[in-house]
Each structure stands twice: as structure tokens, then as C-alpha cells.
Amino acid sequence: MNDDRIDELLARGARDYNQPGPVPRDEMWARIQASRQSLRAASAARTSRPILIWTSVGIAAAVILSVGITIGRRVERGVPTATAPVAANPVASPRRDSASTRSTVRPATIVATNRDSLIRQLREQTKTTDRRARELAAAPDQTGGPPATNLAYHLVVLQHLAGSEAMITAFRTSAHRGEMDADLATWSRELLSTTRMLESSAATQDPTMKRLLEDLDLVIAQIVQYTTHGTNNSEDLDLIEQSITARGVIGKLRGTVSARNPAAGT
């Protein structure tokens, strides 16, 4: 069979791929309207809740989150860490030549983690949060539970978001420097696992939070793939940047943390 014949078969066969039936316009519209109504009702209910709960959460979270955010921004500004990472295997992770570099972002070299590296320190800080977040997310619906449990749940979610922001910021900074700290792979995997637990948790009922977690899931999954396989592919790096930018992940994370944690500040 020649190429033309194959192309013809391809074009003909592709047209029938997952052939859609009639569009259930009215049924979908009815469900969209019902869903929007319930979202509006939920939103109204949320705003009428006593602000005392969120104030308490805010005050409790402020100390921990401000530490996470401050560290994340220090990383972003490129504050020198105590130690410089050392290339583990530069031969195995060659840099691309200039002709193949499509963006200003340099392909990363995976580097060994120094015991004192800032990334390791950050990861250690988020470990406890992640464990607690997983425990609470795995538990039955917390939102209807006693205020103390509810408060704890919201607190760890906010801590997780702050930790995720720090990791994404650290990743971008490492990528821009062309060096990828080996600890980022483990750290991003841990955060991805927690994000997915929170996503599927019955306790996460807030649709805005659910969407934020979905966006976070996608971005962290891409980072996991990149850091784990160490492909040094600038196109993959571009895609990750695009996901972060297109979804406004950093802005949403900071917005959520600030909005729900007025005491944290910037």
C-alpha cells in the first residue's frame, strides 16, 4: 500500500472518529442553568457566613503562610542559597545548542541536591502539611463537621497552596538558571499526590477551590514529568510556562491565599 492510499484511508477513516449524534441543547442548557443557580446560592451562603471562621483561619495561617510565601518570593528574586548545586551528570544531560533553543529559558541540567539546599528546606517544611492534608482529605466530609476540624482542613489547604506556590516558583527559578535541583522531582510528586487527594475529597466543595486544584494538578503533573524524566526539552518547559501563565496559577494561588488569609499580607 503506498503513501497516498494510506493518506486517503487516514482522511476517510478520521472523519468517522467518535461521530457525534444530535446535540442535546435543551437538556444541557437546563442543567447549566440549574448548576449556575446552585453556584449563586452557594456563593450567597458563603458571603453571609460569619467572617469569624475565616478571620480565625487567617490569623492561624498567617504565620506559616507568610513564611512559605516569603521564602517562595526569595527564591523568585534569586536570593543566593547557602550552597551552589553541583552538576551530577552533565554528559547525560547535555544542553541544547543555540540553534535548537526556542525560548529564552535554558534547558535544565539535573543537579544533585545539597543537604542544605533551600529547596530541600522548603520541601521539608511542606512535608508535614502534606501529610496532614492527606489525612484530612481522606477523612469523611469535614465541611459539615465540628468547627475545629473544619478550621484545620481549611488551614492545611491554604498551607498546601502556599507550599505549591513555593515549589512552582523554585522550579521556574531553577529552570531559568538552567539547573534543576534533584529534590524538585520528589517535592513536586508529593505535592501532586496531595493536590489529587484534595481534588477528590468530599471536603473540597468550593467550586473555585476545585478549579484551582485542577489547574494546580495540571501544572504540577507537567513539572513532575519534566523533573522526573529530565528530558531537558525546552518545548516542554515552554508548555509548562504556558500552562502556568494561561491558567494564571501563581496569581490565583496568591489571590486565594491573600483573600482567605488577610493577615498574611505580602
Binding site: 457525534p20 441543547r25 444541557m28
Partner: protein, 202 residues
């Protein structure tokens, strides 16, 4: 006011891509932001068919396609104030739709235990087709097996007839990347078909 609204709604409902789409987009969005129920329905009617078709092509299941389409419009109405008109409303909606479909399919795949997107498609597809003699079925399974990067581009371009500009806008990638991915997707499918043809055609 009512007359204005009716006109916009009628124009939008019958909107063809060539008829001042950006102007209609802006009018519709403005009306929707003013809580105009007729305009909301007009926006929905103007775009739902294309969104649903794409969702169906990507999901291969009527319920999933309906879920993804509903979620697209719910999210779009919720975020309508973020629409700045840099791209057409259709492109903006498709960006949301494709994101929802990819995330949704990822979850479905995870639930079904197929956590890894299949990049080594030809060998797996060949495996799948050892059990079927149907060329079309082989092709469809090979399309199913394309990676998460390649499949949306192939489906949008070769199955649904989107332009590379539309695909690039919807997926947030450069036009060149869209073309490269289509090239890669077709190459993988050709390999799958050629292997099959080799078995069955002399």
C-alpha cells in the same frame, strides 16, 4: 432596548464566522454581563454545537461530552468578565473546553487505570489490531492511543476541520507547534495503518 437585544440575539444565533464576529462577541458579552438571559442563551446557541462536537470527538461518549460542554459554559459564564476580546469568543470558549476535556479525560483514564498516555502508540496499536481485521477500527484505536499533546491537534484539525490558528489559540500553543504536532500525529497513524496494510494487502 428590547429591540436591540432581540437583534443581537437573533444575529448571534444565526452568526456566521464571517459576519463581524468580534463585534457580535462584544455585544453578546456586554449583554450577558448585564444579566441578560436572552443574550446568555444566544451565546450558548451560537457556540454549543461546535463545542459539543469537539467534546464528543475527544471523549467518545455522549454523557462525558455533555458534561464537558456544560462545564465549559458554566465556567465561561462565570468568567465572562475576564474575556477581553483579544481572541474571538469562540477561541476563548474552546480554550476552556479543551482544558476541561483534557483534565476530564485524564481523570477518566486515571479511574480506568490507564494512567499513562501512550506515546509508543504504534506497537500498542499493532497489539490491539492483531485482534481485529477492521481498518477503520484500527485507525480509531490508533487515534485513541495518540498522546495528550498530539490527539487534540489531530482531532481538531483532521476530524473537525479547525484551522491551525484556531487550534493554536485554543491550546495556547504557537501555530508552528500545532503544525508540528499534526505532522507527528499523522506520521504515527500512518505507521499504524501501514503495519496493518502490510499484514492484509499485497
Amino acid at each position: 432596548m428590547l429591540l436591540d437585544c432581540t437583534n443581537v440575539v437573533t444575529e448571534a444565533a444565526n452568526a456566521q464566522p464571517s459576519a463581524h464576529p468580534r463585534l457580535l462577541d462584544r455585544q453578546l458579552v456586554t449583554r450577558c454581563l448585564a444579566q441578560d438571559a436572552l443574550a446568555e442563551r444566544a451565546l450558548y446557541d451560537a457556540h454549543v454545537d461546535r463545542v459539543y462536537r469537539l467534546m464528543y470527538r475527544m471523549a467518545g461518549d455522549a454523557d462525558l461530552a455533555a458534561d464537558f460542554t456544560q462545564e465549559t459554559f458554566i465556567r465561561a459564564f462565570e468568567r465572562l468578565e475576564q474575556f477581553r476580546g483579544d481572541s474571538s469568543l469562540a477561541t476563548w470558549l474552546h480554550t476552556i473546553a479543551v482544558s476541561i476535556a483534557l483534565n476530564g479525560m485524564r481523570k477518566v483514564n486515571r479511574i480506568q487505570g490507564r494512567t499513562e498516555m501512550i506515546d509508543n502508540m504504534p506497537s500498542l496499536a499493532a497489539e490491539a489490531f492483531r485482534f481485529t481485521g477492521d481498518l477503520k477500527a484500527r485507525l480509531h484505536a490508533a487515534i485513541d492511543a495518540l498522546s495528550e499533546k498530539l490527539r487534540p491537534v489531530f482531532v481538531m484539525h483532521d476530524v473537525e476541520g479547525y484551522t491551525h490558528e484556531e487550534i493554536a489559540g485554543s491550546l495556547g500553543i504557537p501555530v508552528g507547534t500545532s503544525k508540528a504536532r499534526l505532522f507527528d500525529a499523522r506520521a504515527k497513524l500512518r505507521i499504524a495503518l501501514a503495519a496493518f496494510a502490510g499484514d492484509h494487502v499485497t
